[in-house]
């Protein structure tokens, strides 16, 4: 009896030992930095099944939220670097060090795929007394501090866009904080705030339905989903310095993961990002596909971090100076 049991354990050991040569030989844990139902969650849950098909393994997705995503990132960074823990994240970690939110960021990870980016748009409530970006600037100049801008806290997209505007065309507004762009856009419809810098995908359905109006696209060209809205560079070419800029989504794995495992993950997600159903969903939410990995992904992340960190620094929002953290000036 005892011998048989021992044999079984041994057999199991041999079996698992042999199988570990083939990655993946067990479920992979996928940590999503943001809550269920949000943009990061939707993108992660949509791409994963297509990547799984190529990978030949199952990824169990979990939302680990809190601390602007830092809790999830730390959990992924604390796991063994064996490729069995993936991090699905957005742009926020690149600002953790600057904002004093944590000691770890994407430099502790290898980008598997930088999937897509969003474009920022400036929207206003329908009865706001301005219809374009220049009109808004004039109104704010005439009524300092009276216009309420929605915000999602320092480091969030609205704060970066507001800092961008401030650096070229200084404005005096009141920033009212919300927990995310969803609640802030709701508040915009109810008149609790006047203007909201948001990502196109979150605002587009409300613009189409005429519940809010778009002032300008924060990009160098019009967005295919909203061809009639003029980009900000049409009236203010000085913004070209920062653009294109936008929040992004990516899949990451801890640094130190074996190269063959990383390669397998990169190939799987690159294939998944080309799936037709996935592309259709991303188009519906007005995201621009990037599908970057390796050096391209590193370059993208580096440029994003440098632009944004210095914007926040110049706006006086940064807690730690970017040059001290080794983030080059753009």
């Amino acid at each position: 009896m005892k011998k048989a049991w021992l044999g079984a354990v041994l057999a199991l050991g041999v079996m698992t030992g042999a199988a570990s040569a083939q990655y993946p030989n067990k479920e992979i844990q996928g940590i999503i930095q943001w809550g269920a139902g949000g943009s990061t969650d939707v993108v992660s849950r949509s791409i994963t099944p297509h990547a799984e098909a190529v990978l030949g393994g199952k990824v169990v997705l979990q939302n680990v939220t809190g601390g602007v995503g830092a809790i999830g990132l730390n959990k992924a960074a604390d796991a063994a670097g064996d490729g069995y823990t993936l991090l699905y994240g957005a742009e926020n970690p690149l600002l953790y060090k600057v904002m004093g939110l944590g000691q770890k960021d994407y430099s502790d990870f290898v980008p598997v795929n930088v999937i897509a980016r969003g474009t920022a748009i400036l929207v206003a409530r329908n009865d706001a007394p301005f219809n374009t970006f220049p009109e808004m600037l004039a109104y704010i100049k005439a009524n300092p501090r009276a216009v309420k801008f929605g915000s999602t806290g320092p480091g969030g997209l609205p704060s970066v866009i507001t800092a961008m505007i401030n650096s070229k065309t200084p404005i005096q507004v009141t920033a009212v904080p919300y927990d995310g762009d969803g609640p802030a856009l709701t508040a915009l419809q109810g008149g609790a705030i006047d203007v909201m810098p948001a990502v196109v995908g979150a605002a587009i359905e409300n613009i189409r339905a005429g519940r809010i109006k778009a002032l300008t696209i924060m990009d160098t060209a019009a967005h295919p989903a909203l061809p009639n809205i003029k980009p900000i560079t049409d009236t203010h070419p000085e913004f070209k310095q920062y653009l294109p800029w936008g929040p992004f989504f990516g899949v990451f794995v801890k640094k130190g993961t074996p190269d063959d495992v990383v390669k397998k993950l990169v190939d799987s997600f690159a294939a998944g990002a080309k799936n037709a159903d996935f592309l259709k969903m991303m188009e519906g939410r007005a995201f621009t596909m990037l599908n970057l990995s390796g050096k391209d992904a590193d370059a993208f992340l580096g440029k994003w971090q440098s632009t944004t960190a210095w914007l926040l620094q110049d706006a006086g929002m940064a807690k730690n100076a970017p040059d001290k953290l080794g983030i080059p000036k753009p």
Partner: protein, 170 residues
């Protein structure tokens, strides 16, 4: 459960601890942002902590004034053997969960607790603990895909092996 003006064993100490704890939290709340603005991050924490301090001090004063209950003792009415066994096992569980992993820790917990409480036969306790653990594991791990700390049992690989077995060895 208790009369209005009679103090239960340990209640005086508890009420003083609560008051001290509230004071500590108020100090920490003031440290957040000071009295910088009505909208500061520290506003609600300070308000809540101040309310705690005031009420805890009132409670402590009233408790200290009341008569102690002569019919009750701490060891019988507040923390009898069964309860402190429970508390001790809960603490042990928290300590062992990460190094041992979910399956062994939970099994030990169920088994020791059932055995200590019921004093029934080894077989009965082993059997009920095993059935309980297997059902919880099936619901949470297999159906809801909750990944608990693995510890010393490589359950992920065992599960994957079963999965492959079921899907025809592929």
């Amino acid at each position: 459960m208790r009369e209005g003006h009679i103090r239960r064993p340990g209640e005086a100490v508890f009420s003083i601890l609560m008051a001290a704890f509230s004071l500590f939290l108020l100090w920490k709340a003031i440290e957040i942002d000071g009295f910088s603005a009505l909208s500061s991050s520290g506003a609600l924490p300070m308000g809540a902590a101040a309310t705690m301090v005031v009420s805890a001090v009132l409670i402590a004063m009233k408790t200290l004034k009341s008569e102690p209950d002569k019919t009750e003792t701490f060891a019988v009415n507040i923390l009898p053997r069964d309860v402190w066994t429970g508390v001790a096992l809960i603490i042990a569980y928290a300590v062992l969960l990460v190094p041992l992993g979910f399956l062994p820790t939970s099994f030990l917990f169920l088994f020791v607790m059932t055995k200590a409480l019921s004093g029934r036969s080894w077989f009965f306790c082993l059997w009920t603990s095993a059935v309980t653990l297997v059902s919880i594991y099936l619901v949470f791990r297999v159906v809801f895909a909750v990944l608990m700390p693995e510890g010393i049992v490589p359950e992920g690989q065992i599960l994957a092996w079963f999965g492959k077995l079921l899907s025809g060895g592929k």
